[in-house]
Amino acid sequence: METAVTKTGTEDKIWGGGNKPLKVSYGKMMMWFFILSDALTFSGFLASYGFSRFKFIDSWPIADEVFNHFPFLHGVDAPMYYVALMTFILIFSSVTMVLAVDAGHHMKKKKVIFYMFLTIIGGAIFVGSQAWEWKNFIKGEYGAVETKGGQILQFVDGEGHRVGLKDIAVVNTHKDRAQHERKNGIWFKKEAALPTYTIEEIRKGFEKRKDLLIRTQTLTEKGQKTILSRTESLKRMQADAIGIVEGANLVHNEYGTPLFANFFFFITGFHGFHVFSGVVINIIIFINVILGTYERRKNYEMVEKVGLYWHFVDLVWVFVFTFFYLV
């Protein structure tokens, strides 16, 4: 410091506040450390996903077969295209966010409003897409049979194409099994929804269609699912199969081990919750920008801070995308 500068008597009081350690404002620094701790939470989830995956390294579901839907393209096998599109939308909303921050540095209110609007739209589309992914995942596509030991058996025809339960079942029209509803029971207990087909119907249909084979969870050397011979398949259907599974929830999962569904719901859900809260925070700041709060404050640092959070959401998605859909 130059000698000519008058001392105010507060320079040495480091703990008295008012100065900026690391040359960054309090809010921004705290945002960084919040992001750090949140990153550790996410890496905890992803690392435990890796743990489970290594545990079932030779029977983990193949992501390409699970996430192969694209809007308006029914029955078309489109592995990963939709997630790739979602990734683009999120990266692009990150770009508009950084453009809004940049406009904020130059005090251009109109531009900040425009870019933040685009960011919010991008975030909303992303959350919507994730909901659609969940819907497809929960609903399932082909259905499968579960064994006593909790293994999943799927059906393929002679050429290795998947066959759905609805094409196999020989439906028994004289079913007298009614769902037990709450109003009928003396203890007001109800049972879960009955599956569309019973295991007997599937067994019968499987025996009738001679081309059908069973595909187990186990992966071959080449990373494909093992397909059993016809006699093996019949044996497993007779001895082990105890029920049918359609779609996925936290307990049963037609794609393979339930852990896959659990981690999918948990990690993408937690990330989706971050995107959702990011959109909400962005909307709040967006309204503030329109009201001119930051114009009066003479700086747009608040936009920068929510921007950090928004980029972090994008950063996490890059990893989730890799570990859930690619690896």
Partner: protein, 119 residues
Amino acid sequence: MAHDTAHHESNIGRIWKVFILLSVVTIVEVILGIIKPAFLVETTLISMKLLNWIFIILTIYKAYYITWSFMHMEGETKGLRRSVVWTGVFLICYLVFILLTEGDYIYEVFRNGYVAWDF
């Protein structure tokens, strides 16, 4: 104020460059994921497919650009950069290492443990 608005240069050009870079990397990842070139799948390096290593390295590459450019980490002081990045990187590496090692061990137990799982 953290930034003096008068001295803040616009870097819109760089933002778009980074966007194009991130997009290209993502497209490469998706193409590799769909084609799954045989030689990348069959070669393994430290008990993982080469293809998966490529995915992970490309992901870290993208993460670097998001943090450094979009989150403007390159403009922060060395102290802030290190206290955030080094802490995170160290703890994540440690966590991933112990959990994956343990997962691999449990896989071996499942396989060689004289207990039937597939029934």
